[in-house]
C-alpha cells in the first residue's frame, strides 16, 4: 500500500469499526469481534507507517482546502508515529479488557459504548497524523465530542454532572484560547498553519510580548494537557466506566493534549524561539507547580480512581515541562514519558477496574489485604507503580533521566528538585496501595468475599498483566525509541542546510 492509503486507512478503520459495531449491535460476540479485528488491523497499519517513518520518510496525505490557506492535510513524523503506535496498540489490549469489564459489570448500552470508543480512536489518529494546526484542531474537537457520551455513559445525575464539566472545560479552553492562538498564528505566520521542522514562527520576527501571549494561549488552550488550573475536568471524567478512564483518560485523550503541546513546541515555535520567549519561564513554573500540587492532592484521595486521576495530572505536566524546556533532551524525555506513562497508567486503571468488577470496592482504605485474594492484579499494580515512580528496570525511568538531563542543559536548577520531590510523593501515594494490599498490617480484618462469583473475569486480569510486562519492555527499548525520535528535534538545534546557504 502507498503511504497515502495507509494514512487514509488509519483514519477510516476506526470509523469502519463504528459502523460494524452498529450493524452487529444485537450479537455481542460479533460486535466485540469487529472491535478487536479493527484494532488489530489499525495497529498493523500504524506499524507499517512507523517503519516508513523510521526509514526517514514522512508519509503525507493531502485532502484539500476548506478555504484558501486552511488545508486538511496529514503528515506523519516520529512524534506522531509514537503517539499513534501507543494509542492503537493499547486499544487492542483495552478492547479485550472492555469485554471482560463491560460483561462482568453488566453495563447497559454496550453497543453505544463501542461505537463512541471507535470514533474517539479515529480522533486520536487524526491528532497524531495531522499535518497542520487546523487539521489537528479538527480532530482534537472530534476527540472531545466523541468522548462526551462515554463519560456520561451511566446516565445518572453524577455522570451527567461530570460529563458536563468535562465537555465545558475542554470545549471552553479550546475555543477561548486554543482557537484564538491558532487564528493569531495564522495571521502572524502569513496565512499558514503547517508544522515545519525548526518552527513555523521561528522566522516570523515576533516580539517577546506576542510570542509570550501566543505560548500562554496555546499551553492553556490545550485543555487536554490538564495543566493547572484547567485540570479539574480529569477527576470529573472519572465517572466514566473504567475502560474509558484507562484508554482515554490515561492514554488517548490526555496524551493527545500533551502531544499537541509537544508538537507546538517543536514544530510551531521551534526551540530557539521558545527559549527566547519570556512566558516560558512562568509556564515552566506552572508545570512544576502542577507536578507537586497534583501529587499532594493525590496523596489525600481515598477513591482509587480519583487518586490515579490526580497522579495522571502530575505525570502529564512532566511532558509539558519537557516540551517547554526547549532542548533536545527535554523534548525526548517528554516524548518518552508519553509512551512510558501510557503503559503504566493504563495498567493501574485496569487493575482498579478489575478490583471493582470483582468486589465493587472503590476506596484505597477498603483494599487492604485484598492482594491475598487477587495476587496477579496487585502484582501488576505494583510493577506499574514502580514504573511511574521511575525505578529501573521499568520504562518510567528513562523519561525522568532525560528530563534531568534536559534541565541541566537548559540550566534550570530547580527542576531536578521538583522531579525528586515528585518521585518521593509518587512513592507515598502509589506504593501503599499495592504493598498494603499484598502485605496487610497485622490486625487488618480479612478481605471481603467477592461480589461477583469467581472474582475478576480472566480478561480483566490478563490485560493489566500484559501491559505491566510492557513497562519492562519499554525499559529495554528506550534506546531504539530514542533513536527513532531524535530526527524530530534535530532541526531545532542545528541550522538546516538551507539556512547556511
Amino acid at each position: 500500500m502507498t503511504p497515502q492509503l495507509l494514512i487514509a486507512a488509519a483514519l477510516c478503520l476506526p470509523l469502519l469499526v463504528a459502523v460494524g459495531v452498529a450493524l452487529f449491535g444485537k450479537v455481542p460476540t460479533l460486535r466485540e469481534g469487529v472491535t478487536i479485528a479493527g484494532a488489530v488491523a489499525l495497529f498493523a497499519v500504524v506499524i507499517q507507517l512507523t517503519l516508513l517513518v523510521a526509514g526517514g520518510a514522512r508519509p503525507e496525505l493531502y485532502i484539500g482546502e476548506t478555504v484558501p490557506g486552511l488545508a486538511i492535510a496529514f503528515k506523519l513524523e516520529p512524534l506522531g508515529a509514537l503517539f499513534a503506535l501507543v494509542a492503537s496498540g493499547l486499544w487492542i489490549v483495552n478492547s479485550f479488557y472492555s469485554i471482560g469489564y463491560m460483561r462482568g459489570n453488566r453495563e447497559r448500552n454496550q453497543t453505544r459504548f463501542y461505537i463512541w470508543f471507535a470514533l474517539a480512536l479515529s480522533g486520536a489518529m487524526g491528532v497524531a497524523m495531522a499535518g497542520n494546526l487546523f487539521t489537528l484542531f479538527i480532530f482534537y474537537e472530534v476527540l472531545t465530542l466523541s468522548t462526551y457520551p462515554l463519560v456520561a455513559h451511566k446516565g445518572d445525575a453524577a455522570a451527567q454532572r461530570g460529563a458536563r464539566t468535562y465537555l465545558l472545560t475542554l470545549l471552553g479552553t479550546s475555543i477561548c484560547f486554543f482557537l484564538m492562538a491558532i487564528m493569531w498564528t495564522w495571521v502572524v505566520a502569513g496565512q499558514r498553519l503547517d508544522f515545519i521542522e525548526g518552527g513555523l514562527l521561528a522566522d516570523a520576527g515576533l516580539s517577546p510580548f506576542v510570542s509570550s501571549a501566543l505560548l500562554v494561549l496555546f499551553v492553556f488552550g490545550v485543555g487536554k494537557a490538564a495543566l493547572m488550573p484547567f485540570h479539574f475536568w480529569l477527576p470529573s471524567a472519572m465517572v466514566a466506566p473504567t475502560p474509558v478512564s484507562a484508554l482515554l483518560h490515561a492514554v488517548a485523550v490526555v496524551k493527545a493534549g500533551v502531544f499537541t503541546v509537544m508538537k507546538i513546541s517543536v514544530y510551531i515555535f521551534g526551540f530557539d524561539l521558545l527559549q527566547a520567549t519570556p512566558a516560558r519561564d512562568v509556564l515552566l513554573g506552572v508545570a512544576g507547580f502542577t507536578i507537586i500540587a497534583a501529587s499532594l492532592i493525590a496523596l489525600r484521595q481515598d477513591n482509587l480512581k480519583a487518586r490515579l486521576a490526580y497522579s495522571t495530572i502530575a505525570q502529564l505536566a512532566y511532558v509539558t515541562l519537557g516540551a517547554l524546556l526547549a532542548v533536545e533532551a527535554g523534548a525526548l524525555g517528554g516524548s518518552l514519558q508519553i509512551a512510558a506513562h501510557a503503559a503504566a497508567k493504563i495498567t493501574l486503571f485496569m487493575c482498579a477496574g478489575a478490583i471493582y468488577v470483582a468486589t465493587g470496592l472503590t476506596t484505597v482504605s477498603s483494599m487492604q489485604g485484598l492482594g491475598r485474594k487477587m495476587p496477579l492484579v496487585f502484582t501488576a499494580f505494583l510493577i506499574a507503580s514502580f514504573s511511574i515512580i521511575g525505578l529501573p528496570p521499568f520504562g518510567g525511568m528513562w523519561p525522568k533521566y532525560e528530563l534531568l538531563q534536559g534541565a541541566a542543559d537548559a540550566s534550570t536548577a530547580w527542576i531536578p528538585a521538583v522531579l525528586i520531590v515528585s518521585a518521593l510523593l509518587n512513592i507515598a501515594y502509589l506504593l501503599p496501595v499495592a504493598i498494603l494490599g499484598l502485605m496487610p498490617l497485622p490486625g487488618t480484618p480479612p478481605a471481603k468475599e467477592f461480589k461477583r462469583p469467581g472474582g475478576a473475569p480472566v480478561l480483566t486480569v490478563a490485560a493489566p498483566l500484559f501491559t505491566a510486562a510492557l513497562c519492562v519492555v519499554l525499559f529495554m527499548a528506550a534506546g531504539p525509541i530514542g533513536d527513532f525520535l531524535r530526527p524530530a528535534f534535530a532541526a531545532g538545534s542545528v541550522p538546516g542546510l538551507e539556512d547556511l546557504r
Binding site: 472530534v142 482557537l179 493569531w184 495571521v187
Partner: protein
C-alpha cells in the same frame, strides 16, 4: 464554474429579464393565491413561485460569475436611470438573492406540513399570500438599485411580516402583542430610513444609489449627508435587529407560525444587513474619516454588546424558540462586528457568516417547527428525551447546533475563523477575545438543549412522540448536510463572500 449549466439551459427571456422576474413572479402570484379555491393549490403555487425566484437568482449569479466584477443593470419600463427605477445586481446582491430565495423555497416547502398541523381545516391561502408578498418584498430589497424603491419593498415585506407573525395567535395569543410591537418598531425603522433618504435627496437630488455614490466625494463634510447616514443607520439597524434596537425580534420569532420563524430568521435580518453594507460601503465610501469613525466607535461596541449580552440572555431562556431568537440577535452582532472592521477581509467574513448563519439558524428553526406541532410544546423540558423518539429530526438539529457553536467540520467554524482572522489582521485582538468568549457562551445554550434531547428521559413518555413529517425532514436534512459540506469545502460560499465584499467596496473582482 458550477453554475454554468444553469445559464446554458436557461431560455433567452429568462436570462434577459432575470433581475426583475425574481421579484415580479412571486409578487404577481401573491394576489392569485388569494383567489385560490383550495389550500393545496395555493401551497403548490407558493412553492412554484419561490422555486422560480430561486432559479432566476441562480441565473443572475451565473451571469455575474461569467465576468468577474460585473453588474447587471435593468431599467424598469425602459426608463433609463437615474430618472427611472433601476434594478442593479452585482456579486454582492446576487449572493443575497440566492440565499433568500433558496431559504424561501425551503420554507415554502415546509409550510404545508406545519400549517396543516397548526391550522387544522382553516383557509390558508391568505396566509400563504402574505408569505409570498413578504418573500417578494425581501427579494425586491435585495435586487433594487434605487434608494426609495428599497424603502417601498422594505415596507411590502414588513407589512406582510406583521400579518404573518400575528397568525401565530391561533396557537398562542402572545403572538398578537409580539406582532404589534414589531409593527411599531418596524414602522419607526422605516420612518427613520425614509427621513435619511429625504436628507440625501435634498443634498444630491437623486434617488438612484449609484448616482448618489457618484456625488458623494463632492459632498464630504455636508451636514445633511451626515445626518442622512445617521438616520439610515438607525432605520436599517432596527430592521436588522442591531443591539439595542432588537427588542421586537425575540417575541416575533418565538410566537410566529413555525415556518414563518424559520423563513424570517434566515432572511429578514439578513436583507437589512445587506442594505446596511450597501449603504456603508458602496454609497458612503468607508475611507472617509467621518464614516470610519462611525464604523468603529458605533458599530463595533454595539456588536460586541449584542454578542455577549444576548448570548447570556439566550442561556437563561426556557423556551427553545426564544433561545434561538436571542442567539440570532447575538449572531447579527457577529456580522456587524465583521462589517465594522471595514476591510475587504472583514466584509467578506461578515457576508460569509451571514450566509452560514442563515443555513444553521434556518435548520434549527425548521427542526423546532417540526417538533413543536407534533408535541405542542417548545420549552427545553418538552425537548427532553426527543433524541430517542425523533432521532432524525434531532440529529439534524444537533448538526445545525454544532455549526452555530462553530465546531470544526461545520460551516459555522469556517465563518468564525474568517471573522477571527479579519479581526486579528487589523490588530483588534480585544474583539477577537469577545468573539471566542461569545462562542463559548453558545456552547452553553446549545449544550443545554442537546443535553436534554439526548441524555434526559422524556417528560411525559405517553405523549404522542414521533418524527417530523417527511416533507419537513427532507429540506431539514438538505440544510444540515449543506452545513457539513461547507464545513469541509467552503470554497463556494467563501468565494461568493469574497466577490461580494469586493463588489461592495468597489474593488472589482476579488481575485
Amino acid at each position: 464554474m458550477i453554475l454554468e449549466p444553469v445559464l446554458t439551459s436557461a431560455p433567452d427571456w429568462a436570462v434577459r429579464h432575470a433581475a426583475v422576474l425574481v421579484v415580479v413572479v412571486p409578487m404577481l402570484l401573491a394576489p392569485l393565491l388569494a383567489l385560490s379555491p383550495s389550500n393545496r393549490l395555493a401551497w403548490i403555487l407558493t412553492v412554484a413561485g419561490t422555486a422560480a425566484a430561486f432559479w432566476f437568482s441562480l441565473i443572475l449569479l451565473a451571469i455575474i460569475q461569467e465576468v468577474p466584477g460585473s453588474a447587471i443593470s435593468y431599467a424598469l419600463g425602459n426608463w433609463e436611470p437615474p430618472i427611472g427605477i433601476e434594478f442593479r445586481v452585482d456579486a454582492l446582491n446576487a449572493m443575497i438573492l440566492v440565499l433568500i430565495t433558496g431559504m424561501g423555497a425551503l420554507a415554502s416547502f415546509i409550510a404545508w406540513p406545519t400549517l396543516a398541523a397548526e391550522f387544522k381545516g382553516e383557509r390558508l391561502n391568505l396566509l400563504l399570500c402574505a408569505f409570498l408578498l413578504c418573500f417578494a418584498g425581501l427579494a425586491g430589497v435585495a435586487a433594487t438599485g434605487d434608494a426609495f424603491n428599497l424603502f417601498v419593498f422594505l415596507e411590502v415585506s414588513s407589512l406582510a411580516t406583521y400579518v404573518l407573525v400575528a397568525m401565530g395567535a391561533g396557537k398562542d395569543r402572545r403572538a398578537l402583542p409580539a406582532a404589534f410591537s414589531y409593527l411599531v418598531m418596524g414602522t419607526l425603522g422605516a420612518s427613520f430610513y425614509v427621513i435619511g433618504i429625504g436628507l440625501l435627496y435634498a443634498a444630491t437630488g437623486t434617488l438612484n444609489m449609484a448616482d448618489i455614490a457618484e456625488q458623494m466625494p463632492g459632498l464630504s463634510g455636508n451636514r445633511s449627508v451626515q445626518a442622512g447616514l445617521a438616520f439610515i443607520l438607525v432605520g436599517l439597524g432596527l430592521k436588522a435587529a442591531m443591539w439595542p434596537l432588537h427588542q421586537w425580534l425575540p417575541n416575533a420569532y418565538a410566537y410566529a407560525p413555525g415556518f414563518v420563524s424559520m423563513f424570517l430568521s434566515a432572511t429578514a435580518t439578513k436583507v437589512a444587513l445587506y442594505s446596511l453594507i450597501r449603504w456603508l460601503f458602496t454609497i458612503f465610501q468607508p475611507d472617509r474619516a467621518f464614516e470610519s469613525a462611525v464604523l468603529q466607535w458605533v458599530l463595533a461596541p454595539l456588536a460586541m454588546a449584542a454578542m455577549v449580552i444576548c448570548s447570556v440572555q439566550a442561556i437563561f431562556q426556557t423556551d427553545v424558540r426564544r433561545m434561538l431568537a436571542y442567539s440570532s440577535v447575538a449572531q447579527v452582532g457577529y456580522i456587524l462586528l465583521a462589517i465594522s472592521v471595514g476591510t475587504a477581509a472583514g466584509v467578506s467574513a461578515g457576508l460569509l457568516h451571514l450566509f452560514t448563519h442563515a443555513l444553521m439558524k434556518g435548520a434549527l428553526f425548521m427542526a423546532v417547527a417540526g417538533i413543536c406541532f407534533a408535541y405542542q410544546g417548545s420549552t427545553i423540558r418538552d425537548f427532553a428525551g426527543l433524541g430517542r423518539s425523533a432521532p432524525f429530526t434531532m440529529a439534524a438539529f444537533a448538526i445545525a447546533g454544532l455549526s452555530l457553536i462553530g465546531v470544526p467540520l461545520t460551516a459555522g467554524f469556517i465563518s468564525k475563523l474568517q471573522l477571527g482572522y479579519a479581526l486579528l489582521d487589523q490588530g483588534w485582538w480585544w474583539a477577537a477575545v469577545v468573539l471566542v468568549f461569545a462562542s463559548f457562551l453558545s456552547v452553553i445554550y446549545i449544550g443545554r438543549v442537546l443535553q436534554a434531547v439526548f441524555f434526559e428521559p422524556p417528560l411525559n413518555p405517553r405523549k404522542n412522540n414521533k418524527e417530523a413529517p417527511l416533507l419537513l425532514l427532507i429540506p431539514l436534512w438538505i440544510l444540515a448536510l449543506v452545513n457539513i459540506f461547507y464545513g469541509i469545502d467552503a470554497g463556494f460560499p467563501a468565494g461568493l463572500a469574497a466577490d461580494g465584499a469586493a463588489a461592495a467596496l468597489g474593488l472589482g473582482a476579488a481575485q
